[in-house]
Amino acid sequence: MTIKEIFDTMDYGPAPESSAEAMAWIAGFKGRFGHFINGAFTKPGVTFETRNPATGAVLAEVSQATGADVVAAVKAARKAQPKWAALGGHGRAKVLYAIARILQKQSRLFAVLETLDNGKPIRESRDIDIPLAQRHFYYHAGMAQLMDSELPDRAPLGVCGQIVPWNFPLLMLAWKIAPALAMGNTVILKPAEYTSLTALLFADICGQAGVPPGVVNIVTGDGAVGEMIVAAQVDKIAFTGSTAVGRKIREATAGRGLALTLELGGKSPYIVFEDADLDSAVEGLVDAIWFNQGQVCCAGSRLLVQESVAERFYAKLRTRMDGLRIGDPLDKCIDVGAIVDPVQLDAITRLVAENPEGTHYRAACAMPAVGSFYPPTLITGLSSASTLMQEEIFGPVLVATTFRTPVEAVELANNSRYGLAATVWTENINLALDIAPKLVAGVVWVNATNLFDAAAGFGGMRESGFGREGGWEGLSSYTKSKTALKPMKQIAAFAGNGGPVSGIDRTAKLYIGGKQARPDGGYSTAIHGPKGALLGHASLANRKDIRNAVEAANAAKGWGKTTAHNRAQILYYIAENLSARAPEFAARLRDLTGQRGEAEVEASIRRLFTYAAWADKFDGQVHSVPIRGVALAMREPVGTIAALCPDEAPLLGLISVMAPAIAMGNRVVLVASEPFPLVATDFYQVLDTSDVPGGVVNILTGSHAELAPTLAAHMDIDAVWSFSSTDLSKGIEGKAAGNLKRTWVNNGMSRDWAGAEGRAFLDAATEVKNIWIPYGE
């Protein structure tokens, strides 16, 4: 076209970014890559092709790792780890800083390579992915520097196996590697098989940054390699990817004593209230669902619009969609690039085609003739029962429905198995700050969407996984307590055949919903003292009692909304009432265990005081994120926590798990010490007299081994803790995969309950929700 013709049409025209430098880097490896193990590239083995999804052209051949490769990588990481940790915070900080600097110096090379391999628009890789990856290394260089002074009780985990997805290849690598290295761990990381190249380029610069051999190991290949890493002798698995694979990893790691973090799928709600700046909310959707072709775990993929503005909003949205430019991802003027692989394109196409419900609108934008592209799509008129409202599409497809009131908006938003992110648009600060805490999501954006920063944790609730990446809250995923634990032995109940010691027969029932309830099964077990005397009978709870206890706990949801001061008052009151009956509890402990009980009762009272003290002091944070606004890291209760209480400290153990949980606003279903349950059943009366609302604390007695699987599999329990002396860890972690509930198990190790209190328990009793609130008028 002539300039005059363009003058008349005012078309954008092509604005291609050159791929020459990236292709030259690939050519430097003759187009064939091995793995990066112990500081060097291996010779390419059996390879597979990695392609540019925008054109279908082969970019390079990448090796499929063998079992031997994985073993070699883990061995290298294991060997390098002690020295890396011993380098100290400052030593590691210098290396991380150097990585950040080199990423910055080579930013365009990384961006172009990412776009070639993944198909995302160069605008995104250049302006978002690569700068954020740099930011994570800068930020965590600082965390390495501060570790010695700020985390004196934390030690590295050791060797971390990390598996990252194809949607943000380098950025997810940075999210994984930066905190791991900062805290003194070494890593073996597997990029997704579609998108290995930037991880290999990263490996290539590790040497320049002074990363010692073995500290970073990159192995490439498909899911089979991922399985090998999960099965390897590592100390931690960090995975970002699909919920289905996350569930498999949860099962595969069950009982192995591994640390695990999972960042999984989502179907994140995008809520537009009638008083929102509708034009800005429409533009927000471009960043929510058409960012990275919608292949974003936290994509705002579920649009909820208030009825009063829905039609106007949809009309504006359709107009905006028509203006999106889809095509060559290397073009600087493109909004929507290529779907990562034809396999994914097929999956999106099929899912949408198989669910014709609702009104489907395809953006009227020109589509490229070749390559793996899917048009931006809006589907309105759906209900929460629609498959597309529930299933993650992982493509540029937005589904929508309407709501009438703020309450209904929250109900619809939370009507999902997922809980990764949420977006709220309103000009009313009261409404925004009322809604944000009610949304089940690890991240909430107010009047914005898809804001990320290394200083703010990212991660999900429910089946979106667990663990946080970024911020102070992310560091616990890469460290462990320095306190050494000892192996424990199962504590058996005393046997006996004697008659009652004295007095009137007392019936120890279960404690459900603030009332004593007979066990559903109608069975009890005799409890004997150390010398065989019959001390009483304890109910044998079964799965129906668990069902009832969980229902009671969930009916007490209001506990999480009471003020922290109020919860503290109740904990003090429990302590007060326990103190009033201290001699009686001490005597009961002596009868049950044969040990003097005064110290345990006294420690229990102290512990109640400790968590009454913490109730209003375990504050959230305001993170220093690079926007004009705040990112509030709020501590929220996990929900309903089931705990198998320690056998060895029947009163102190129960209180040590109950008190932090209820102090933070959770409801609990506690299974009392199996051999010594009667001190727990005595405790019902203390709870009754202490104004604890019914359902906040539920206590069952019976067999830990029998009850644990039901608790772990229960879909309406949010976390299971086990400190039982019965070895239940594997079973609990495996069964917990069902709804991906949080687990905290002892892995057969004992702890000294006299000192078992503080942040570890409070951390486990809370989820960090980051609420981003940009401001400005």
């Binding site: 076209m1 002539t2 300039i3 005059k4 013709e5 363009i6 003058f7 049409t9 005012m10 078309d11 954008y12 025209g13 092509p14 604005a15 605008r123 250049r126 302006d127 008083d275 929102a276 700046d277 509708l278 034009d279 800005s280 909310a281 533009e283 927000g284 009309a315 203006g323 600087k332 003027c333 909004d335 648009w425 000009e427 009047n447 914005a448 926007i627 004009r628 606004g629 940009p774 401001y775 400005g776 008028e777």
Partner: protein
């Protein structure tokens, strides 16, 4: 009000080349005004990321820069303006880029959109532009503060129209916005519009003095209800003049007005747009938010004085491949 045009053929060439129904006065709709929202952070984010999302290169860039020239209200608004200075400016408006360069671009005949001057300079500008299709715009109504007696402000419009101005850039009373006196703002705008007669009226909101983007949005809507043909950001004399966030707010108001009434109102950012690159960003914002139709001089203008110089240098670079120097181009 008597318009002065003597040559009917000339009058025709001065009218916008594309014909749109002119905005008419509609009743003030307070509910619409009250529902207007503008989220500053989100608007700033959109404005900040747009330059990274849109890029025009090579011939396309040259064509877009020529387009920008065709949309410039080449402006001089100084206390020391003289007829001689205005003649020089008008010569530049007629021949904004050297003939040789325009020939190589295939854009011979390109002119700026208009010339914009104070009332006293209107006759000189009209005379200097005779025989072209370049209209003269006059700033009016006690520009820039707009605080002279109201009847004099209206009379000033009439004088400028009588002197041959085809476009009148009025200033609104900022206090009406700051005091939330929407009726007063509406009435003022309506009367000014009436005073313009057939001359097109551009309403200068002086956005740098309105306090918030929400106020900018409200003032935009009210001026359009009261019949403004264009809404314009600034006089160029406020501490902050045209910005991308303000532009976004105003053009979204124009879009909403079009959606509800079917009437296309024009937009003129003024002050602070000095670089060719800035002009490209503005054009892409208009294209993406309002559509291609708004990239014509009847619906979009840049109020600028130094922008043209930078564009000339970029165009010479495009043709020659060598970076240019300002002294190589005739000054305006």
């Amino acid at each position: 009000m008597q318009t002065h045009v003597t040559d009917p053929a000339l009058a025709q060439t001065q009218l916008p080349q594309l014909h749109e129904p002119r905005n008419q006065v509609m009743p003030l709709d307070p509910r619409w005004v009250a529902s207007v929202q503008a989220n500053t952070s989100a608007i700033e984010r959109r404005a900040a990321t747009l330059p990274g999302r849109r890029s025009v290169k090579k011939d396309y860039q040259a064509a877009w820069l020529c387009k920008a020239i065709s949309l410039i209200d080449l402006t001089t608004l100084s206390g020391d303006d003289t007829e001689g200075r205005v003649l020089r400016l008008c010569a530049k408006a007629r021949q904004p880029v050297s003939p040789e360069l325009l020939a190589r671009l295939g854009m011979t005949g390109l002119t700026t959109g208009a010339v914009c001057v104070y009332h006293e300079m209107v006759p000189a500008a009209v005379a200097a532009l005779r025989g072209t299709n370049i209209p003269v715009a006059a700033v009016s109504t006690g520009f820039p503060a707009g605080l002279s007696p109201f009847h004099l402000r209206l009379a000033e419009i009439g004088e400028s129209v009588a002197a041959g101005a085809r476009e009148i850039d009025i200033v609104i009373s900022r206090r009406h916005v700051l005091q939330g006196n929407w009726q007063a703002l509406y009435d003022e705008m309506r009367e000014m519009r009436a005073a313009c007669g057939d001359a097109h009226v551009k309403a200068i909101l002086a956005t740098g003095e309105l306090g918030t983007l929400r106020n900018v949005a409200r003032a935009s809507v009210i001026c359009m209800m009261a019949g403004a043909d264009f809404i314009k950001t600034s006089t160029g004399k406020e501490p902050v003049n045209a910005t991308l966030p303000v532009t976004l707010v105003m053009i979204r108001a124009i879009r909403e007005f079009y959606d509800r009434t079917g009437i296309k109102v024009g937009y003129k950012p003024a002050g602070g747009i000095a670089k060719a690159k800035d002009a490209l960003v503005y054009l892409s914002m208009i294209k993406d938010e309002l559509g291609d139709r708004w990239l014509q001089p009847d619906l979009f203008r840049f109020g600028a004085s130094s922008l043209l110089g930078d564009i000339e240098r970029q165009l010479e670079h495009h043709v020659s491949g060598a970076y240019s120097a300002s002294w190589r181009h005739p000054m305006g």
